[in-house]
């Protein structure tokens, strides 16, 4: 099989860093490499006793479970809406992809600019609608909502594009015969499109999820972990421990735990995306 060389190459490149990371989590090594390295379980013990870790974990998974479904739903509906072969839609589709293409740092900074009280366009809009406090990013609850909005804004076109591609791959005959049989738009969607698209939808969720687990720049640049750690997602906390404090072994341990918690979800998604 000609997929073997590829697989071998990847596995080779992946294994060393992966195992290094795993082993690292069982040591006391820090980025400042002056002390002797010892093996210890202390990272894991510390983690489970630390309230910040649990809080960050909770923030991270809430983030994923709120943002991803919304991104999927919006992406799905817009994909359906644009499923017609109008030429202008080509441009529309490319334009809609732009948020995904924007540099994450720039996206976060622009949202920070837009939410600036008194001067930011969004802040003023929200103020006239009497929505939320005057300084969203200074409020613990609204800062979280703000980062959610930023992510949804940026990434629903990702789902959108993937679903568009999926819709194209759908056997046209099935949809045509259904329409000939008099099926309404609604039932055509629910009974034909969704089941056929399940593999693509599962893969979209999976891909989004693995990226959402590592989200960093956009949030960091908007809130730096938020007023009073309100937006300190685990990915940010891991970065803080690793890059700011230099506790790479502790960061590694937290990363490993995050990974293991996400694996079951990933497994289910993979299974679903292979079924035909």
């Amino acid at each position: 099989m000609f997929l073997l060389p590829t697989l071998l190459a990847i596995i080779f490149v992946q294994f060393y860093p992966m195992f290094y990371g795993l082993i690292l989590s069982f040591t006391n090594q820090t980025l400042l490499r002056v002390q002797t390295v010892q093996f210890t379980l202390s990272n894991y013990q510390k983690m489970f006793k630390e309230p910040q870790f649990q809080y960050s974990l909770w923030l991270q998974f809430s983030f994923i479970f709120i943002a991803l479904p919304l991104e999927l739903v919006i992406g799905f509906f817009v994909a359906l809406l644009l499923d017609k072969p109008f030429r202008v839609f080509k441009v529309v589709r490319a334009l809609l992809m732009l948020p995904v293409f924007v540099l994450p740092v720039l996206s976060g900074l622009t949202w920070r600019l837009m939410l600036q009280p008194k001067y930011g366009v969004l802040a003023r809009a929200f103020e006239t609608l009497a929505l939320g406090p005057s300084a969203w990013l200074a409020d613990t609850r609204y800062a979280y909502i703000a980062i959610l909005l930023q992510d949804i804004w940026r990434m629903w076109p990702f789902m959108f594009l993937l679903i568009c591609a999926g819709l194209t791959s759908l056997p046209q005959e099935l949809r045509e015969s259904a329409r000939l049989d008099g099926a309404s738009f609604f039932s055509e969607t629910v009974y034909i499109i969704i089941p056929c698209l399940k593999p693509v939808l599962s893969m979209a969720i999976l891909l989004r999820m693995i990226d959402a687990l590592r989200i960093f720049s956009e949030v960091y640049v908007m809130t730096y972990g938020g007023p009073s750690n309100a937006t300190m997602l685990l990915s940010l906390y891991i970065h803080k421990q690793g890059f700011e404090f230099g506790n790479i072994s502790y960061a590694s341990a937290m990363g490993t735990v995050l990974l293991f918690l996400a694996l079951p979800l990933a497994y289910v998604a993979v299974k679903k995306s292979l079924k035909v």
Binding site: L7, I11, P17, A94, M97, T110, P157, P199, L258
Partner: protein, 272 residues
């Protein structure tokens, strides 16, 4: 009649969606033509446009060179990832074997680990291989995360292709290789295009590896853009200009590859 109203409503919805979605980008676009003082003054549309930011970005810094580097790296890694990845994805999707799901999962694990954990081993690995601060090194590093991504993304597309195509081709005496290139690759083309776009994008915007594995000789756009972030506060005008410049290549690629996404399946698969 009902159809017409439905179409009109959907047009309106599309318009509104696009407008909302584009808004922050319009902000960036306008900011790239504003003087810094105007950006923070809050008068959204009232200002004297200036090309100063663009001139600064293109002449003062090494940003153009960084852009070229990024183009080279992103393009190379996309090509490699698509070629190798589609083959691998095809193999995994069409051939059933017991631990298939586990293998796929393992492939994806690297992308689920936080980057900080990978930074140190990658740094050491690359240092000992002498690949630090080289284009080749970065291409390899980017491919390491693009490959699993492409493989995973293409799985449903390859899995979806009905068996009839395969059987018909085999009856016609197709070899394995021909089967892949002449039949499966084109059939999965919508997926492949999307995978290409995303692989390019991942490499284009990727920051951590570029920072750690790059150096004085090889700087990528994603790192060069950071110099507009300033030590304290961003140089908003230049940052927006640089951001816009970075959007252009990806946008062109997406626009260009559009036709492969919406192209219907050539019905000649079975009958031909």
């Amino acid at each position: 009649m009902k159809n017409k109203i439905l179409t009109q409503i959907s047009f309106v919805i599309v318009l509104v969606t696009v407008a909302v979605e584009m808004f922050p980008l319009i902000v960036i676009f306008i900011n790239s033509f504003k003087k810094d003082i105007d950006i923070w003054m809050g008068k959204f549309l009232v200002f004297k446009p200036t090309l100063q930011s663009y001139t600064d970005v293109l002449t003062n810094s090494d940003f153009p060179r960084a852009l070229t580097n990024s183009l080279i790296v992103a393009f190379s890694t996309t090509v490699i990832a698509i070629l190798l990845g589609s083959m691998a994805s095809y193999g995994l999707a069409r051939f059933q074997f017991k631990i298939r799901n586990v293998v796929i999962l393992i492939l994806l694990i690297l992308r689920m680990i936080p980057q900080i954990t990978l930074a140190v081993p990658f740094y050491m690995m690359f240092r000992s291989l002498g690949l630090r601060d080289t284009l080749l090194g970065l291409i390899l590093a980017h491919t390491s995360f693009n490959l699993p991504y492409v493989i995973a993304l293409l799985l449903p597309f390859f899995a979806d292709i009905p068996k009839d195509y395969e059987e018909a081709a085999r009856i016609d005496g197709c070899t394995e290789v021909m089967l892949f290139w002449k039949i499966f690759f084109p059939l999965a083309s919508p997926g492949i295009v999307v995978a290409a776009i995303f692989a390019f994008l991942m490499s284009w915007n990727e920051f951590i590896y570029a920072l750690i594995l790059g150096g004085s000789r090889v700087r990528l756009a994603s790192v060069a853009v950071q110099s507009f972030l300033g030590q304290y506060a961003p140089l908003w005008g230049q940052l927006s200009a640089a951001g816009m410049l970075m959007l252009i290549p990806v946008f062109i690629i997406t626009l260009g590859l559009q036709r492969y996404i919406i192209q219907g399946l050539s019905a000649g698969g079975i009958k031909g």
